[in-house]
Symmetry: C2
């Protein structure tokens, strides 16, 4: 066995990877009802002013504000109601001095009117309303273009589409939206020690249940990609080589787990021109990357750290997405020591502004992943954090 | 038009709604690859110890720690390598004093051995290794059951399944998992003023583009449900009545937008025995609930607030989910005044521990939803917050 001659610092490896990757150019047009969670492929500009006209923001009476200036509770101003319209209707009438038009929220402000009084604020008798207080010009009016102006960029390329974004698109008349094609991410699991069927005897004799496949498929789906599973392949040079070659042809990114170290049966790294192999991250040190292929560990906790520290960002670059991490400030409930020279990925449980490290020795440990809901990082030049320190946690 | 005689305080209405709803009992068995984001229907206990045996946490040599106690750099201890095994194999050999077995991470610790030394820490020549420093008993060994004990609850009912949870299930031998059936949520949009096709003339004469449907479908999907869209129905008593009746038969929850106030064309509330109608929330005051039906506003920003303040929690109760909100502490970058007596839903943009209110007048305003990524609430008895105050923001 060889060892890593030199570990590439986390940030340097990160930069090499990001510089090597290119955003995928392909977009696809999908209907708004299919666009939730997809990544916007281009800026969206508004084809129209919204609202397209001045409209009422409340249920009430459109009037001329000037008419109400003398209004007092002991000497109300009386106005004659000359029309009644609902939200979708338009009044043909011009509001002259001394008159008002009853309307509902969203209705177009009639000609002549410049303010709306809420219906609760007036007394009505027959076709006359009594206004007890002055109304300011513009009160309860939503002006044309107040929400969105024609030509304004309302949604930016790289944004993940949320329910309210879809509502905005629909309100502007769009029926479809151009989103990025989901990157296809090939997943190849290697390791003769892995079994797919639970078998106590096999496990007692040293075999290990394969679990990285379902975890990586889930992570890829969470981070904008479409997983393509190439199965669990045996530790045979030819089989691994052809699986990697096929996945490279068919996918935008390839993840190979197992065999990232320099063991006698670690073949994967021989078939890819790696830009780096072995970085300062802990766990997950043996990670390698080159030609859109990640050579990853076999141990789930190491794979998980490698995914969050590298692969997630690679996927974000492929689709050009911004703002895909939830970062929060968290106060540490206990000291977290760290090894100098290692970029540590420390799983934490975050709640109510506080974070507690979830640490168990052994990078094969899945339960610590399950008990955590986020992570913090400790750079190479830090010996860790003290109890009470406030640090940035990234939630998952 | 009538007005609300009395606004029910937010919390009181919330409690009435939650007390009225029952968790849906139905679960469905899905394969692990389909379970991402679903809600666990029952506690999962481990059928086995994991790891099932003591195993090596590193690539190295299994040995008897006692043999190494005298080791010093200037007088190394020599051990004879009597076997080599990889992760999935088992050594039939017992490690006797003076011997060692080469093994890889995850491999079962051979009989007789009680510690593992990392391969980088020894010098090897032929079948002899030189140990330069003492090794402690248990060092680099992951003990049986250290990750998970047989019978231990590893995942709790009500948890949203994440990639790492699926990995744990797979590692314990599960191929499927029981998740809650997704609640069916009927969506009925009412309003004669609404149009589905963009038409500038119609918009200029007061019509409004319908946009709540796509927003609510997205929100329902985000919060554990399956939307069932019953279309945009005209403001006609019979049509609305039959749409609500059909949706109540076919769904677990029904959302009706438009007509929640007491306008002449607001019919929806007449067909449902409401537990409350009109609460102190702002925006979204006219919300009503009863018989699993929400009567909601027509204005997107009001609907959005009503969804987050009420409907989201109703859905969570139906599926029995815990921990579905991302809550962060945020420092306000400016003062946020609030009206006494109203439970205000204030949209904010949260970044790096700071939050800025995104406020625009008019509850029809969609752009403020789009510019925000979370919200804070200001209870009825508060006049708001000052610049620099630290408050809890809920991200979306």
């Amino acid at each position: 066995m060889r060892e890593f001659k030199r570990l590439t610092p986390y940030r340097d490896a990160f930069r090499m990877m990001m510089d090597d990757l290119r955003e995928i150019p392909n977009a696809e047009e999908v209907s708004l009802t299919e666009a939730l969670g997809r990544v916007l492929a281009e800026d969206v500009t508004s084809p129209t002013d919204s609202p397209p006209f001045d409209r009422s923001a409340v249920d009430g009476y459109a009037l001329r504000a000037e008419d109400t200036f003398p209004a007092r509770e002991y000497s109300p101003v009386e106005l004659r109601v000359v029309d009644e319209i609902t939200a979708g209707e338009e009044s043909g009438i011009t509001v002259e001095s001394g008159t008002a038009v009853k309307l509902m929220t969203g209705a177009k402000l009639p000609e002549g009117a410049n303010a709306v009084i809420m219906q609760e604020m007036v007394e009505r008798e027959g076709d006359v309303i009594r206004v007890l207080r002055p109304v300011a010009p513009g009160q309860n009016v939503a002006f044309a273009g107040e929400d969105v102006n024609k030509g304004e960029v309302v949604l930016k390329k790289g944004q993940i589409l949320r329910p309210q974004d879809l509502a905005l698109l629909k309100s502007l008349g769009f029926k479809t939206v151009n989103v990025k094609r989901k990157p296809r991410v090939g997943i190849i699991i290697t390791g003769d020690e892995l079994i797919e069927e639970f078998d106590e005897d096999a496990l007692m004799s040293g075999k290990i249940m394969e679990s990285n496949s379902v975890m990586l498929m889930g992570l890829v789906r969470q981070y904008f990609g479409e997983p393509v599973f190439y199965g669990v392949v045996p530790d045979e040079e030819d089989v691994i080589r052809s699986a990697i070659e096929r996945a490279k042809r068919e996918c935008d990114l390839v993840l190979v787990t197992g065999g990232s170290a320099f063991g006698d049966k670690d073949f994967a790294h021989r078939f890819v021109r790696l830009l780096f192999h072995g970085t300062t991250i802990k766990p997950g040190r043996p990670i390698g990357y080159g030609e859109k292929v990640f050579i990853m560990s076999g141990y789930p906790a190491a794979v998980f750290a490698q995914f969050h520290l590298y692969v997630k960002h690679a996927l974000a670059k492929l689709v050009g997405v911004r703002d895909y991490e939830v970062k929060v400030y968290a106060q540490l409930t206990e000291r977290i020591p760290s090894q100098l020279g290692r970029y540590e990925f420390v799983k934490v449980y975050y709640e109510n502004g506080k974070a507690k490290a979830i640490r168990k020795k052994g990078s094969g440990i899945i339960s610590s992943l399950v008990k955590s809901n986020g992570y913090i990082v400790i750079p190479e030049d830090s010996e860790g954090y003290l109890k009470g320190d406030v640090v940035i946690a990234i939630l998952y």
